[in-house]
């Protein structure tokens, strides 16, 4: 474990598109530029804002706010429904530009990615990363559009590069090195650090750490034993000093989808149709990665009348099957059974598959013929949908669930 700050030349660039979805809409529709824009998944007053443009943010509009509340703060706010294909295109353009500089590009989400120059060619390593950062900004303007802006952060590890990219929004470019590390940390709050949210902040406060500088100076054993109670504490000690501990990939553990219902007192039959739709999308996700699942988990957020107003609560149930499964029908049958225990009035439903693994083709199953038939049928449907468009073939039960739109894939980039 290193106690010193990493004084090596920075080799990591973090690129973050500014207010990505709102900016892409302003790029696509020039008349929206300079105006407050909010992106929502469904254009109703109660829907939550997914992204707001900088003009809207300047008026106090925040992510997660309801559109009707945001309109009180900003009466001229323009609510637009999300358009995932457009965002996916910009994501691929950004990735293409980044891959021109290094083979080691890792997209962290639909609107941000990291270029690691540590294993690059000598010619590329000799280039100034600040020049490359400005070049990427210029290329984004020229090759995607003049309204597109990105923040660029440069540092010795992924964590500090991301921190640098968030220092001057929008359109900033910052470098964090061992020389200015303490100065930068002196301007930040604990929750400005990626990975430190309310819970960890409380734990840090509990041991007398209230600022990033105190966090930086903290004893690694204190972080390991008292705050994070695992090796994560030591990783934080290294991460804050600019040493790389995040250069790793995690295998896919779960795949699923959730949906905020288009009505709060919906009959159970209608809820189940939407659940069926989610199961079909979840099945497609699992199969797109060449995996099979062993478990299904369903959840619901509900509202109940307590006599003194409506109170929200969270319900979930899960089931582990004896044999792996992959078909939409298998997922729905289990999810439907689990959902029998769900509360009456639900606001949000979700389904996910867990214990994902590669299919084990070597073992013969007792019900091998049934499984083979199921697999052939599912493959045939997937191939037709792949050729003629998503959901060309789907269950009759979900004929009326067009309102369950394609969702913006925020976290994982596996399905982009």
């Amino acid at each position: 474990m290193r106690n010193d700050y990493n004084a090596a030349r920075p080799t990591v660039i973090h690129i973050d598109l500014n207010s990505c979805f709102a900016t892409v809409e302003q790029q696509a529709r020039p008349r929206l530029r300079g105006r407050p824009v909010a992106i929502v998944n469904r254009r109703t007053d109660t829907t939550m804002i997914v992204t707001a443009s900088y003009e809207a943010k300047a008026m106090g509009v925040k992510l997660g706010m309801r559109l009707k509340d945001a309109k009180k703060l900003c009466p001229d706010l323009i609510g637009l429904e999300s358009d995932p294909p457009k965002y996916r295109y910009v994501y691929h353009q950004l990735m293409r530009i980044m891959q021109d500089y290094s083979a080691h590009v890792r997209m962290k989400s639909i609107d941000e990615g990291v270029i690691d120059f540590s294993d690059s060619t000598l010619a590329m390593q000799n280039r100034d990363l600040v020049d490359i950062g400005w070049e990427i900004k210029r290329r984004l303007w020229n090759e995607v559009g003049c309204a597109m802006n990105c923040n660029v952060g440069i540092a010795t590890n992924r964590f500090l590069a991301k921190t640098a990219a968030s220092l001057h929004k929008p359109n900033g470019l910052d470098v964090i090195t061992a020389d200015n590390l303490r100065k930068v940390f002196g301007t930040l709050e604990l929750t400005d650090l990626t990975g430190i949210a309310e819970q960890f902040e409380k734990r840090l406060n509990g041991v007398g750490i209230f600022t990033p500088l105190q966090f930086l100076d903290a004893d690694p054993v204190l972080l390991q034993k008292m705050v994070f109670k695992s090796i994560v504490g030591l990783e934080w000690h290294q991460r804050l000093r600019g040493w790389e501990v995040d250069k790793r990939d995690f295998p896919i553990r779960t795949a699923g989808r959730q949906y905020v219902l288009d009505g709060y007192k919906m009959p159970r039959a209608e809820v189940l149709k939407r659940l069926h739709h989610l199961c079909e999308e979840t099945g497609a996700k699992v199969r797109s990665q060449g995996l099979v699942a062993r478990g299904v988990s369903v959840h619901a957020r509900s509202y109940s009348d307590t006599g003194r107003g409506w109170r929200g609560s969270y319900w979930h149930a899960r089931h582990m099957a004896a044999v792996p499964f992959f078909s939409n029908q298998a997922i729905f049958e289990q999810a439907k059974k689990l959902f029998e225990g769900a509360p009456v009035f639900v606001k949000e439903i979700g389904v996910s598959c867990y214990e994902l693994s590669e299919p084990d083709e070597s073992q013969l199953h007792l019900f091998g013929d049934d499984l083979a038939r199921d697999k052939s049928l599912t493959n045939a449907v997937d191939q037709i949908n792949s050729r003629y468009g998503k959901r060309v073939i789907h269950s009759a039960d979900t004929l009326t669930t067009r309102m369950v739109k394609e969702k913006i894939p925020f976290g994982s980039t596996r399905y982009l």
Partner: protein, 87 residues
Amino acid sequence: MNDETFLNERVDVVATFGTGLNPCVPIKFRRRNGRVIEISEIGLRHPTMQGNRMVHMFDVTDGGADYRLEFDAERLTWTLSMEADRS
């Protein structure tokens, strides 16, 4: 503001096909009612797959309203699919 109207209107389009990053550039289009719209800026062009068919979406403006034109690369047809913010 933001009075999006979704359409499915076949239109005649004058476009140039050249080289470079944006090889296809629609210049103007004529709507079914005979109105000709001169495109002053292409906001974004993004391709989408509709099954195996590639459709290129052009978000354009004439300075007075925003439009979306769809070019079906298989059938070689242009469709006006959205009009918004007519001033």
